[in-house]
């Protein structure tokens, strides 16, 4: 198996005589490390998903085949979990990108203090999720929380709601907190992408008579669209993974209204003490993430090919 690295422009030529073992030596520590701390646990989880194991006696595995998975598919509550995960993910990504795009466009044009504004807008992203959960619990408090007071000041006539305690309101509240925390990341990425927009192209569109929105659609959006697509992928995968915020604020409740896949996984493993079922839920979540990634790369390949050919 020849090392064909010399054909690529950026690769190093292999030494003339023997096979270059350097890359393998270099990669080995990390490979071993990840195998040990991620690969093996993952394999273990996969195995667990086919067993019935209790948290209290984790060494005793009773093999049950696909039973855990069948249980999941037949349970209504699991379908609700999937639905909530879908809603949570889609709304998070759409709102975060929307808000991030708006923020990026605002912060793109020059004005005094722009550098400071760009730095300050990243505050939510920098704050630790545990602290964020804590403060938002207080903000959403039904009786004393400032959120209700702010809404009242804006004309909300609904009275004092207990946001995290109501099954209808908990998910929106959690969504709001999540979007608050992640939109700075989106705006930073989009802002970077906006720098790549050619100002001459913008000027050409203006001379052609395009209004602001037309300039955006004809010049800006096509340029930043690949970055936004990749951003969506990352945000989607992270939303499927997000645990700390939701768990600390609602633990998945009330009545499972904020129960995403990861929360459900944790509940089944640590609350219901069924490690096998928890593992099965985890596997389902991982599969969804993999499918999304595959779709992204397929879509990416297709658009790249279309652009290149025509």
């Amino acid at each position: 198996m020849p090392a064909n690295s010399h054909t690529a422009r950026r690769s190093l030529a292999p030494p003339r005589v023997k096979r270059d073992w350097t890359p393998y030596w270099f990669a080995a520590p990390v490979a071993i490390y990840l195998l040990l701390f991620q690969g093996y646990p993952l394999a273990q989880e996969l195995y667990l998903s086919f067993t019935s194991t209790s948290l209290l006696s984790p060494d005793q595995h009773a093999y049950v085949g696909l039973q855990n998975y069948i249980d999941l598919v037949t349970q209504d509550e699991f379908r609700q979990v999937l639905l909530i995960t879908a809603v949570y993910t889609v709304v998070c990504v759409v709102l975060a990108i929307g808000l991030g795009l708006g923020a990026a466009l605002l912060l793109d044009a020059p004005f005094r203090g722009r550098g400071l504004a760009r730095a300050l807008v990243t505050i939510p992203w920098a704050a630790p999720p545990v602290a964020v959960a804590l403060i938002f619990i207080w903000i959403y408090n039904g009786q004393y929380g400032v959120f209700n007071h702010l809404l009242a000041a804006c004309g909300w006539t609904g009275g004092m709601e207990s946001w995290l305690d109501g099954p209808r309101l908990a998910l929106p509240a959690v969504l709001l907190t999540t979007v608050w925390q992640i939109f700075p990341f989106a705006s930073v990425v989009i802002l970077a992408a906006l720098q790549g927009v050619s100002s001459e192209l913008r000027e050409a569109a203006v001379i052609d008579g395009a209004d602001r929105l037309s300039v955006f659609r004809a010049v800006v959006w096509p340029t930043i669209q690949p970055s936004v697509a990749l951003l969506s992928l990352f945000l989607t995968i992270w939303s499927l993974r997000r645990f700390d915020l939701i768990w600390l604020m609602t633990q998945g409740g009330p009545i499972g209204s904020t129960n995403t896949l990861v929360i459900e996984l944790y509940r089944r493993a640590f609350v219901y003490r069924d490690l096998g079922q928890g593992a099965a839920v985890g596997m389902v979540g991982l599969s969804i993430a993999l499918v999304v990634t595959v779709f992204y790369f397929r879509y990416n390949q297709r658009t790249e090919r279309a652009k290149g050919q025509r």
């Binding site: 950026r10 990669a27 520590p29 040990l36 505050i123 545990v130 608050w180």
Partner: protein
């Protein structure tokens, strides 16, 4: 292009509104920490901090273990940063410079590990740590965190190494340097900004991390701030202003530090993984 003055004024007010939304919860942490208990539960919320309440911070140190928590968090954060960088630089180099099939596999594996939730791996990890005797130790926590940051750090550093022209390395090769030497003495200094950005990202992961810190450590003296703070959720005996004071002490270092380095983090990241 022309900026009419009303459009500029509109932009400025929108930016201010945006910043207000971004900063408000943190500000609210400050206000809550500096509000007396009766005022906290009054009919109308007090929007300004009551500066006379500043002793609450000293009080927090004497009534809770926040000093220990913050110390532990700092240890874990620095350890995660250091270990992540040390581990990730080599695979980053390999991913950038080599085109072997095994390398592609490594790249894919790193990407896939980004999808794994900590909550899912915590159970087997607990078992493994138990066998390795790593439970209840900050070192163990660092090891666990690093496993999760290495993929991201590697991708960032790969992007940085991509930017180093190969001629520099070839010159060193001719001068008779070993590959290891080249990486350490030639490549490393040239990617220093991205290295710093990556270190910051790993640092924050270690500082913010909750699930592992909660599960893998039961010794109260080794609790990190994330766990300590989370312990206040639902608990009623500690007054809210004290809790928020602790929350702010946990949050401010992260926010302030990040504000200073965010420009470099952005360029380090967008140079590598995110740009299409």
């Amino acid at each position: 292009m022309s900026t009419l003055s009303w459009s500029h004024g509109l932009r400025v007010s929108l930016v201010l509104a945006l910043l207000g939304v971004a900063a408000f919860p943190i500000y609210w942490m400050l206000v809550t920490s500096l509000t007396s208990s009766p005022d906290l539960f009054a009919a109308k919320p007090h929007l300004l901090p009551d500066l006379a309440q500043w002793p609450v911070y000293g009080h927090a140190f004497s009534t809770t273990a926040v000093a220990i928590w913050l110390k532990n968090s700092a240890i874990v954060a620095f350890g995660t940063a250091a270990l992540s960088i040390a581990l990730a630089i080599f695979p980053a180099y390999v991913l950038s410079r080599y085109r072997l099939p095994a390398v592609a596999v490594l790249g894919v594996a790193l990407f896939v590990t980004q999808m794994l939730p900590e909550a899912m791996l915590v159970v087997p990890l607990y078992a493994i740590f138990g066998e390795l005797g790593l439970l209840n130790s900050l070192g163990g926590l660092i090891l666990a965190n690093t496993a999760f940051t290495v993929p991201v750090i590697t991708l960032i550093l790969k992007g940085a190494v991509d930017g180093v022209p190969i001629d520099v390395e070839e010159a060193a090769c001719i001068d008779g340097c070993s590959r290891l030497g080249i990486v350490l003495t030639v490549v490393l200094p040239l990617v220093a900004p991205s290295l710093a950005a990556a270190a910051v990202i790993a640092f924050f992961h270690g500082w913010n991390e909750y699930v592992f810190a909660q599960t893998l450590i039961s010794d109260q003296g080794l609790q990190t701030a994330s766990v300590g703070l989370a312990g206040f959720v639902g608990e009623l005996s500690t007054p809210m202003h004290t809790v928020m004071a602790i929350g702010l002490m946990y949050t401010l270092p992260a926010v302030i530090f990040y504000l200073f380095v965010q420009r470099y983090v952005v360029s380090g990241m967008t140079a590598g993984s995110v740009k299409g």
